[in-house]
Each structure stands twice: as C-alpha cells, then as structure tokens.
C-alpha cells in the first residue's frame, strides 16, 4: 500500500526550512533572490504535498492503515520520543490545503511587499514602506514566513505530541516575529497598540494556553509512557485513561482522559483565540496583511482546531464527557460572542479577525458535539475563503494607499515620522484600513471586489454554490440531528450575524459612493496588483468549489450528483479511530434555517447599510463623523460591542493594573509605617553612637583594619609562592601525587 512517494513527505517541512536558512545566512542582501527562494521552496512543497495527497486518495481503506515513518531521537527515560511523520486521511486533506494556501499567499506577498520596486529614499527599517517602494526588510519577512511554513507543515505531519508541540511553538515564534514585523512603527495616539506591543501581547497570551497544554502533554506521557498518536489511540490505552481517575481538589475524582483533554484543549484555546484568550488575535492584525491571511486566518489559528481533530479519540475517550461539553460550550459561545463584536468594527481587518474567531468557534462547537467530519470540512473551506478575504482586504488597503498617495498628502504620516517625530504627533492621520473611509471601490478595483464578494458569500454561507454553505450546513444539521438544541440555536444566530456583518462590510467597502478622496482615486492598476490579484482569483475558485466534495448523499437533487467522497475519506480514519461519524439523515429544518440565516442576514445587512453607503462623502468634516446606522437602534449596547465588551480594559485592569496596585500598596506600607520611624530612630541612635565610635574608631578599628590587610597581604605572599606560573612545577605536583598514591596503594595492606 505504501506508495514510495510517501517517503518524500519529510521534504515538505525541510524545503521551506532550507529557504529560511539560506535567506538568513546568505541571500539576505538580495531581496529578489530571497523572495524567489521562499516562493520556490514552498512551490515545491505544494506540488509534493498534492502529489502525496492524491496518492493517499488512491489508496483503498487508507484510514485503517496510514503511512508511518519515524526514527527515535529523544531518549526519555525508558521510552524514546520518535521524530516521525504520519500520513493519514486527515493529514492528506490538510496537505491539500496548507501548502497550497501558503504558496498563494507567498506569491501574493511578493506583490504586497513590493518586490522589484525601487528602494524608498526615507524608508526606515521596521516601518511599512512608502507605496510603490520595496519594504526595507523584505528578505527577513520571507525568511520568517518560510520558517512558519516549516512549522505548519511539520505540525500536520507530526506523528507524536512532542514533535507537534515543537512545531506548534515554532509557529508561535513566527507569529510573534511577523506580527511585530514593523517593530519600529509608532502611532500618533498612544492608546493605539503598536506592532511591537501586539506581537508581545499575542506571544504572552498564547503562552498561557501553551503552558497549560504542555502540562497536559506531560501528564499524558506520565500516564501512558508514550506520546505517539498510534500508541495513545490504542483502545486499551484510551480505556485505561478513561477509567483511572485523578483526585482533583475541588472537582473530586476525574478521569485522566477528561483532565488531559481539557488541559490540551487550552492550548487550542490559546492558538485559536477562543473566548478567554481571544484578545490577541484582533491586535495581531498589526502585522502585514499576508501574515494575517496566512497565520491568523488560514493556518496557524486553525492549528488549534487541527490539534483537537488529531487528538479527538482522546477528547471523546469519555463519551459525551465534560471535555466535549467544555469544548462545545467554549466554541459556541465564542462563535456568537465574536460575531456580535464583528459587526460593530470599522477596521476592515478587525472585522475579519473577529469573524475568524467566530468561525473557529464554529469548528470547536462542531467538534464538541461530535461533528468530526463537518469540523474538518469547515476547517478547510474556511481556510480558503478567509485567506481570500484577508488578501482581498490587503489589496483594498493597498488600493486605498495608492489612491491616497495619488491625491498627494502622504498616506504614511508615520513613515516620515521615523525621520522627524513632530509629524507623527499630528492628530489627523489617514487610516487606509478604516471602512468608513472607503465606499464605491467596486468600479475602481473590480478584480479585488469580485473575489472579495465571492469570499464574503462563502463566509456567510450563501446557499448551494459556495463552500461555506456546505460546511456550515453540515455542522448545523449535525447539531440539530443529534439534538444539541442550544448549540444549534447559538450557531444559527451566529451564522445570521456572520451574514449580516459580511454584507455590511461588502456594502461599506465596495458599494455606494466613495467617502474620501483616497477612495475616489483608489486603483488596482499598479504592477504589484498583478501579483496580488491572481492568487485572489485562484482562491476565489476554491472558495466556491471546495465545498462540493462534501455534498451529503441524500441532499435533494445535488446529492445524487456526488457521492460525498470527503465524508468517506475522512470517515475511514474516523472508524479506524472508533469515532462514530455516520452520514446524517437528511432533515429539512436545519437546511431551511441555514438558508434563512444566510440569505436573511445578507439581505438585512444590505438593506441597513445601503443608505449609509449611498450617501457618499459628507459635505464637511471627515466621513468618520457619520454615525453607523446600527448605532441608534442598539444604543449603549453598540458602544459596548464596539469596545469589544471591554475585554482589553478588563484584562488590563485586572492583571496589569492589579500588579501595579499591589506593588504600589506594598511600597506605601513600607514607606509610611515601617521605614520612616526606623529611619528617624536610626538617625538619633546613629548620632549618639557615632560620638562613641569616633574615639573607638581611630584607636582600634583602624588598627584592626590595617592589621587584617597586612595579614592578608602576608598570607597571600606565602600562597603566591605556589603559583610559579611554570607548567613544569604544576606537572611535578601531579607526578608526586600519582607516584605517592600508587606507592601507598601498593604498600597498604589489602
């Protein structure tokens, strides 16, 4: 069965890593070459990855006997940690998505980073370049993304948790580096978070999750003496994990499986920005847009979901146990919660960020209710259309900047600010990401607009054609059929909101009349857009067709056309792992619901924002003053949502401020009640003492001190005699020791 090509899988992570090393060590000077290396390497991995995946599809009953190859490398007490790769249906489908999206996004970044453009005169390292100039640190950028690709590919190939964790952390590092890629950037208003801080925030937040996850992994290893999936997922191992219990302080006896599962899930919460740890993802948008698309939409954040899918047997070791409930709760809640925030945001990328969070929540909810295959499908489709959306937004932003540049005043108040600071404090700074500055871009950037709209429809699950519909419908149906009503309702509402804010975004951005000069002059005629829009179109195609591989068989009409290959392929794995994933019986109600929410949401959004968009630029003042049509009906709730439920403020108050206050308090206590009295008393005492000590001093202390010094000197004089600095003397000591010892050893009685 094992097709020889599988052995090449090791190359998948190695190729980008090679590019990373080469760029970092040698070709850093040559921007074109570096970019070429990165794109070329990932291109190769893409071809290889698809070859492997297709070979995998060919194999019959692949799920039952996947391809394994490993070599021991890390001795851990009695056992070994293997450096191994596994290729099973899950990996195969991931291999369809990951290298491909990576490749497209790399190509996109070639345009986005302005490869082949002249160097800007007053471009500063660590600032975004002027429009139409190449980024000064672009080689570094490509090195980082290449390393990231290594991490992601390694993650999906890893056959054991420790290896997975290693690549997981590599990705974390890359995310930190790339979010903070414009590390020197500063904004006029000090409240706004800078890329540096954002990177730090992301790193710290995910650290929390990762630490807990590591704890889980270690516990697992202690329990099973192994971390390789094939070992852990043996039925008897899982059974023992499910039966043996740990005594927790409050919860009382808990099955190890549950405990470990929840601990590991926390890692996913951190990486996939789920509810308690979601705060980092929106700020991560400070990074370059391709990064947002690659890391914070398509691959890394979904790695959390992948982790849960990968370890699903462990998660459901206790059937419908608290672990799954926890997962589904977190997921469903996040889905709704993030969606509500999303439709009040004005930053085009922030909206997408929150929608990402909510979509990930979707997947977790699906996993929580056992919709294993549906979650996998949604993971794939979402990767495609969300990457598409982000790239589209990046294109829009570039278009806006070009327009702004064309108008004349600098699109980059901050760029010169690097040179002379007083400019950077100039309050009015044009924000090319703010949707309120856009409008009417449809005519000016048709390619971007079309692809973006396709992505948007897919995201909101526009019926039948788009990929999003099939995955979402699957999830909803699953929730409904298996009677998780609460989850079903939540997700339905979330879907409604999703459709709504997608419509809002599209309308605000592309329709109506331009609200600013920049939007008026925005264009995608610059050469870089060739690089940027082609990936958009390709992704657009996939955002539509990706769902068609998974049309349920008993879906009216269409079901007859396809035999739902996806379900069978993953299903093979599922039953190999004893996960029950039978094709659902067709029900009308969930379908109707999803149709209603999708279409209704879109329609609603269009109706609400049509007027807003139609107004165009205000007579006087900036378009930012125009109130959002939703603001009046929602009232205070609107602000609450816009401030993201004050979570940043909350965390800041609780954790940051808390620490500060505590230290402050301690300081006061110290100062008022302890130190001062002592100080005074000491002062008085001191004056009195010193009087005595002065006499004492001159007479005795000085003598003593000098005496000690003299003694030291004298002894040192003796000792330094040994340190002749002649090697032969030292060797002599050795000789004496050896011979004397030997002699003694011989003379002494046995």
């Amino acid at each position: 069965m094992s097709n020889p090509i599988f052995n090449l899988a090791v190359l998948l992570p190695l190729l980008p890593f090679l590019a990373f090393v080469l760029i970092l060590l040698w070709t850093g000077r040559n921007k074109r070459l570096s970019a070429g290396l990165a794109v070329g390497s990932i291109g190769l991995s893409w071809i290889l990855g698809w070859a492997i995946a297709i070979a995998a599809f060919r194999v019959e009953g692949f799920g039952a006997n996947p391809f394994l190859a490993f070599r021991n490398w890390l001795p851990t007490g009695p056992t070994w940690q293997a450096f191994g790769i596994v290729i099973d249906p899950l990996t195969a489908v991931m291999l369809i998505m990951v290298p491909f999206v990576c490749f497209l996004i790399f190509v996109y970044s070639v345009g986005y980073m302005g490869i082949g453009k002249p160097e800007g005169q007053h471009d500063v390292r660590g600032w975004p370049a002027e429009p139409g100039h190449v980024d000064p640190l672009v080689s570094r950028f490509f090195a980082y993304v290449a390393l990231f690709a290594t991490g992601m590919l390694g993650l999906i190939l890893a056959d054991n948790l420790i290896l997975l964790f290693i690549f997981w952390e590599i990705m974390g590092l890359c995310s930190y580096l790339l979010i903070g890629f414009w590390f020197a950037r500063k904004y006029p208003d000090p409240k706004q978070i800078t890329p540096k801080e954002a990177g730090l925030k992301a790193f710290m937040t995910t650290r929390i999750g990762d630490t807990i996850m590591l704890a889980g992994i270690l516990l697992l290893w202690i329990q099973t003496n192994s971390l390789s999936f094939s070992e852990i997922f043996k039925p008897q191992t899982l059974a023992s994990l499910a039966t043996t219990t740990a005594n927790l302080p409050i919860l009382g006896p808990t099955p190890w499986a549950t405990l470990i599962a929840i601990l590991i899930f926390w890692g996913a919460i951190g990486k996939s920005a789920q509810f308690p740890l979601h705060v980092w993802l929106p700020d991560a948008m400070e990074g370059p847009t391709p990064v947002s698309a690659l890391i914070h939409a398509a691959t890394m954040v979904s790695a959390g979901v992948y982790l849960i899918i990968r370890t699903y047997p462990l998660m459901q070791a206790v059937p419908h146990g608290p672990a799954l409930q926890f997962i589904s709760f977190i997921g469903a809640f996040t889905a709704l919660f993030a969606a509500t925030i999303a439709f009040t945001q004005n930053d085009i990328k922030k909206v997408l960020a929150y929608s990402t969070i909510s979509q990930l929540g979707y997947m977790f909810a699906a996993l929580g209710i056992g919709a294993y295959i549906a979650a996998t499908l949604h993971l794939l489709t979402h990767a495609f259309f969300k990457a598409l959306l982000f790239l589209g937004s990046g294109s829009v932003i570039h278009g806006m900047e070009h327009g702004h540049h064309a108008v004349g005043h600098s699109a980059h108040g901050d760029t010169e600010a690097a040179g002379h600071d007083e400019v950077s404090v100039s309050p009015a700074r044009f924000d090319p990401q703010d949707m309120r500055n856009m409008g009417g871009l449809f005519k000016r950037m048709p390619r971007t607009a079309w692809t973006f709209i396709i992505g948007g429809l897919a995201l909101s699950g526009f019926p039948i054609v788009t990929a999003g519909f099939w995955s979402k419908d699957e999830i909803l149906a699953d929730a409904f059929v298996n009677g998780h009503t609460l989850v079903f309702v939540t997700l339905a509402v979330a879907a409604l909101l999703t459709a709504f804010y997608t419509a809002r975004q599209i309308v605000m951005t592309f329709f109506g009349r331009p609200r600013t000069e920049a939007a008026e002059h925005a264009s995608e005629r610059d050469s870089i857009f060739a690089w940027m829009t082609i990936p958009l179109m390709v992704l657009g195609v996939f955002a539509v067709v990706a769902g068609w591989v998974a049309i349920p068989e008993d879906f009216p009409i269409l079901g007859a056309l396809s035999s739902n290959p996806f379900h069978h392929f993953i299903g093979g794995l599922a039953e190999a792992l004893e996960i029950e994933a039978n094709p659902l019986p067709f029900r009308l109600s969930p379908l109707v619901v999803s149709l209603i929410v999708a279409l209704g949401g879109l329609l609603l959004g269009w109706l609400v924002y049509r007027g807003y968009a139609g107004k165009g630029a205000p007579a006087e003042g900036s378009p930012l003053e125009i109130p959002d049509p939703m603001a009046r009906p929602l009232g205070r709730a609107y602000t609450v949502l816009q401030r993201k439920y004050y979570f940043d403020e909350l965390y800041h108050a609780v954790f940051v401020k808390g620490a500060l206050r505590l230290s402050n308090w301690l300081f006061r206590v110290d100062d008022l009640w302890v130190i001062d009295p002592i100080v005074d008393g000491v002062g008085r005492l001191g004056r009195w003492f010193s009087e005595i000590s002065r006499r004492f001093d001159t007479a005795i202390v000085d003598g003593a001190v000098n005496g000690i010094a003299a003694i030291t000197n004298w002894m040192g004089g003796i000792v330094r005699g040994i340190q002749t600095g002649r090697v032969q003397n030292y060797l002599l000591v050795g000789l004496v020791t050896v011979s004397v010892l030997l002699g003694a050893f011989l003379l002494l009685p046995k």
């Binding site: 040994i722 340190q723 002749t724 600095g725 002649r726 032969q728 000789l735």
Partner: protein, 102 residues
C-alpha cells in the same frame, strides 16, 4: 617467546624517562621530546596488550595509530608555539615562560 611483562617493564621505564625529561629539561623542545617518549611508551603497551590478549580484534593497533596521529598533531602545534614564542620572547626556556605567575 618474550613474556608480556617484559614489554610492560620496558614501557614503564620509557614512560618514566619521558616524565623525567618532560619535567626536568629547561628547553621547551626537550620537553616536547619527553612527551613524545611518554606517548611511545603508551604505544608499546597498547600493542603488547593487543599481541598478548586479543588477537581476534585490532583494537590495540588501532589505538596505537590514533595515538600516533594525536602525537603528530601535538608535535606540530607545540613546535609552532615554540617558534612563535621564540620569535616574540627570544627564548625557548620554559622557566622564563611564567607570565601566569601569581
């Protein structure tokens, strides 16, 4: 047939002579010579043990070869050092090379 112990005695004597030379000569080159003698003594032991214990495997000779290799490296670096020192301090007298004196 010569008994093994003779070789061992020879090696011991050679080693001690080498030690004496290495520790008592004033000239750095002479010191190196002493060291070479010690290494050779070691070689004799290795080969003798090879010959008298395990003819089945070549370990003894192998190690002797390694020792010779190391000796060559050591000699070339040592002599290079000596030449440099001679150039800079105009002496190869070990006693005068005590800049590390405490």
């Amino acid at each position: 047939m010569v008994p093994l112990t003779w070789y061992l005695f020879l090696a011991a004597a050679l080693f001690c002579i080498g030690v004496f030379g290495a520790l008592s000569r004033r000239n750095a080159i002479a010191v190196l010579m002493g060291i070479e003698l010690m290494l050779n003594a070691v070689n004799i032991n290795l080969v003798a043990f090879w010959r008298y214990t395990d003819l089945g495997q070549m370990t003894g000779q192998l190690f002797a070869v390694f020792v010779i290799t190391v000796a060559a490296a050591e000699a070339c670096v040592g002599l290079a050092l000596i030449i440099t020192i001679y150039r800079q301090r105009h002496t190869v007298n070990v006693e005068e090379l005590d800049t590390m004196k405490g």
